[in-house]
């Protein structure tokens, strides 16, 4: 492939990936700004915000982190807390073992950058035949992280000067997940996984409370899906998450 063609292909990939990631752009930039503002208030400047979003890159955990930066929590507690807040990521990788393995050294970045939102996008994408799937995957993942870094850093720099009341802007994240839920509802033949997930989530929230519900909910969902797996008809539209 000559250089012009490569450039053209890259432009097409970037264009497709950008359009796919626009909802995450808004979610991450606004969530990132919120994080940056809070971090600034806790006494850590934009260099910290940049560094944290570069090497941790995790939404909810970064918010939890702000309260922990001053020390005071023991190493073991810190490890257990992080592992449990992030435990849902263990399940995300399962959908992409073969795909990321096939990406060689780029796969390492894919593993590192598999956030809730990137995972959702990779699951829901219908990639045009003329584009290279691996390039699209990598571009989507890298764009998502760049939005997050920009948001976090920007928040720490200028967030405190924003003139209007931004309270509630983080609802964009909830809205994104609701949209993805509906998209998956349409693309899966069987709605049982989505329904089981909802039931497990709500039941676990009621039983274990907001601080500890996500891991029991995930475990319950896995067990129930395994119990019901033979009665679930696998849809034709799910090409990516196999």
């Amino acid at each position: 492939m000559n250089t012009t063609k490569k450039k053209e292909a890259f432009k097409e990939t970037l264009k497709f990936a950008f359009i796919q990631t626009v909802p995450v752009l808004f979610g991450y930039v606004f969530m990132g700004i919120a994080f940056g503002i809070l971090l600034e208030k806790a006494g850590y400047n934009f260099i910290w915000a940049f560094f944290i979003s570069l090497i941790i890159y995790a939404g909810s955990m970064q918010f939890v982190l702000i309260g922990l930066l001053g020390g005071g929590m023991g190493l073991l507690s810190l490890i257990v807390l992080t592992l449990s807040v992030q435990s849902r990521h263990i399940f995300y990788g399962l959908s992409f073992i073969e795909k990321f393995k096939a990406m060689g050294k780029w796969g390492w970045y894919m593993i590192f950058s598999l956030t809730d939102e990137t995972y959702s996008l990779l699951c829901g994408m219908n990639i045009p035949k003329e584009l290279n799937e691996k390039q699209v995957f990598f571009t989507v993942a890298a764009l998502d992280q760049s939005y997050w870094i920009i948001g976090c850093t920007l928040g720490a720099v200028i967030g405190s000067f924003i003139g209007f009341d931004t309270t509630g802007i983080d609802f964009a994240m909830t809205a994104l997940f609701v949209v993805i839920f509906i998209e998956q509802w349409y693309s899966y033949q069987s709605h049982l996984p989505a329904l089981l997930g909802t039931i497990c989530g709500v039941a676990s929230l009621v039983i274990f409370g907001p601080g500890a519900f996500i891991l029991p909910a995930l475990i319950a969902a896995v067990c129930l899906l395994l119990v019901f797996k033979n009665s679930i008809k696998i849809g034709e539209n799910q090409e990516v998450c196999q």
Binding site: Y92, A175, L176
Partner: protein
């Protein structure tokens, strides 16, 4: 180097390492040239909608139905996102519209 610098740096490094560990674990367990077991493949197929559903609950976990405003802003805004999306299937419209409504609701209506 002072502890005001070292302590947060260490905390960040530990959180980063643990976060990467959770993302790397499925690849470590089933990655190294081994065939992915059928059971794991099935889970990989069926889990995404269930996990997304749990994440929606996760986003709304802070909502208290018992205390005013009884989760009304959240449930109204979620309903608007869903209706907009079923109607137009335009991600930006659904997310933008729902978020705007939510901000108005909690800043002006349910104060």
């Amino acid at each position: 180097m002072s502890t005001e610098f070292l302590t947060p740096l260490l905390v960040i490094l530990v959180v980063a390492a643990c976060t990467f560990l959770t993302r790397f674990l499925p690849f470590a367990l089933f990655g190294g040239g081994k065939e992915v077991p059928a059971l794991v493949k099935t889970l990989g197929d069926l889990l995404p909608p269930a996990v997304i559903a749990i994440l929606v609950v996760y986003c709304l976990k802070g909502v208290s139905v018992m205390v005013a405003p009884h989760g009304f802003p959240e449930f109204i805004a979620v309903a608007i996102v869903a209706l907009l999306h079923i109607w137009k299937r335009n991600n930006l419209l659904s997310i933008g519209g729902g978020t705007l409504v939510y901000m108005v609701l909690i800043q002006m209506v349910f104060v």
